[in-house]
Symmetry: C2
Subunit: 342 residues, 2 copies
């Protein structure tokens, strides 16, 4: 499950060798500013301490840690972007404190145990890419007892939604006759089977489309979670709808929380109720829309686990009941080509 060297890992690390993905992550100010504030808030805990940055990328978090007072930062990065990280470290004159190490965190040797681990490991639907496994492996190998992990906690949320993106796409086939004089309404069923398939769609969900308060269905304490537990992250949910609507999907998102001594904890949220991030939301389309009204219960269980065909791809299995309808199940996965993000 861990360790470098597989063809899958090689492809995975290659995807971080291009500039685009780093541009997208840095341009996401919610992401980068929250990490920056979280790191500077921990200045007292970082002062004179050793830090391990897991999957350092361009090294931005490592430089933040050095600027915040860390004595030594090990910036571990397996992809060739590590070369750029080393240049950035020099350009920011922190090369005496930040050491860029090219390799996987599973195989790297550090000269000491560290006081702090920092990592931006979250993928689509939190667990896509399975990078959390590397953070946990790093914790078990290199973090001193009682050491700090940034972020420290992750939470997964779900809410029923009425997603117009899919509905508008499906309605298109009824408009063709008016447009061109050729009736294509018989495409509806085929279009439905393509659009509402078992793919995890990643796009921004509009607040108005969310049909209930969110329900947290899982949380992970990064100080204690085990690799064994990450093989299946699951939990129950129960949502009560605000009012009458047509429910056609479940929306899944996450938050991660940074510890902050005496201050209230800092939360990086990818909720549809907050500012958009590059993670957007994960949308799971039901096979057909269901009418709900005020207080209709949408409840069930969600299970997330690595795909069998590629362990870096996340699968989401949902058992759900809407109101008095009988229970249904559907399994979703990330389509090819949408493979990488951080």
């Amino acid at each position: 499950s861990s360790g470098g060297g597989s063809a899958q890992d090689s492809l995975y690390f290659q995807s971080y060798a291009d500039v685009s993905i780093h541009e997208e992550m840095l341009a996401d100010t919610v992401r980068t500013d929250t990490y920056r504030r979280a790191i500077f808030r921990c200045a007292a805990a970082l002062a004179g301490k050793a830090v391990l940055d897991v999957g350092a990328g361009t090294g931005v978090l490592s430089v933040f840690c050095a600027q915040a007072g860390a004595r030594r930062v090990y910036a571990v990065e397996a992809s060739s972007i590590a070369e750029q990280a080393a240049r950035i470290v020099r350009q920011n004159r922190v090369e005496d404190r930040v050491q860029v190490i090219r390799g996987t965190v599973e195989s790297v040797e550090l000269p000491e145990r560290v006081d702090v681990i920092v990592s931006e490991w979250m993928g689509y639907a939190l667990l896509h890419e399975s990078m959390l496994n590397s953070v946990i492996t790093a914790r078990d190998r290199w973090l001193k007892p009682g050491g700090l992990i940034l972020p420290e906690r992750a939470e997964l949320f779900v809410a029923p939604i009425s997603d117009l993106v899919a509905e508008e796409r499906l309605n298109f086939w009824d408009t063709v006759k008016g447009q061109y004089g050729v009736d294509m309404s018989c495409m509806a069923e085929f279009a439905r089977s393509c659009v509402l398939n078992g793919e995890i769609a990643v796009h921004p969900v509009t607040v108005e489309d969310v049909l209930s308060h969110p329900c947290r269905f899982a949380q992970l304490d990064l100080r204690t979670v085990t690799l064994e537990e990450l093989k299946r992250v699951s939990g129950a949910f129960c949502c009560q709808c605000f009012g009458s609507s047509s429910l056609n999907a479940l929306c899944v998102w996450f938050t991660v929380t940074f510890p902050a001594e005496d201050m209230p904890p800092l939360v990086l949220s990818t909720s549809p109720f907050k500012a958009e991030t590059h993670w957007k939301q994960a949308v799971l389309y039901l096979d057909e829309p269901v009418d709900v009204r005020q207080d209709t219960k949408v409840e069930g269980n969600i299970s997330m686990y690595p795909s069998e065909k590629s362990s870096r791809y996340v699968c989401i299995h949902v058992d759900y009941t809407v109101g008095e309808h009988k229970q249904k199940s559907k399994t979703f996965s990330i389509p090819d080509g949408h493979s990488e993000d951080t």
Copy 2:
């Protein structure tokens, strides 16, 4: 070069089995309306005649031909969307005139020679997907001497442009310090090597960014062009800039022209000066921007040919000179994942 059966062809036809690509093509009203008008304009030539639709997709062009008076339309389609085409034909009550045949046009057997071939075969930069080869093969096998081909002619154009998309992406790295306090200006060179690589970028070009009148560098007469000639489509170009600007790319696009008896010919244009289509424009980034001023000549030669690694992928080789600068050359190709379109 032709004929079905290869793994590449199998992947290619699979990409047309999903609903999304057909939705995009039909939603492109410039494309579909121009074909519709062109077909109905030819009503006199179609009346009582046999038509072959090469790569019929959902069958929309075949139904147009039947509605315009064709006696018999052979709608040949290799992908599984053929099943939907057959349903659409029945729903529009033209099943007595339109016969959907699942197979490649290279392998199919028709009961007669046809009077007309219609096909929407154009890909990005006109020749991506190499589908024109199938149309020419169909012409040589099935079109009666003097028969009609819709469209009948294709033309390729080029113009120098000042593309802001790339410039803004490259400027991003100079803004990181102001945003987060980490200087990443040293990423500029690496970013330039990633962003201005040899990929054919496909995006809409703004009229204001076009630096000269377009120059036609190649044209194909579909009545006479040979498969041998399609192995390399090339031609010279010479553009004179309107005024002072920073030239950083060449923009390539195409038109196709429909014959129209006594009326002026009907042109489907993908020019940046016309309404946007799903083909957008093909943008070829130079390695570095060059300053131009009024009457600076941008001239050279453009060659288009199938990629060695996959014959459905188009490559574009450009030899060019800007003003008094010495001649440069660059070869471009369509990146993976951008593989399919019609």
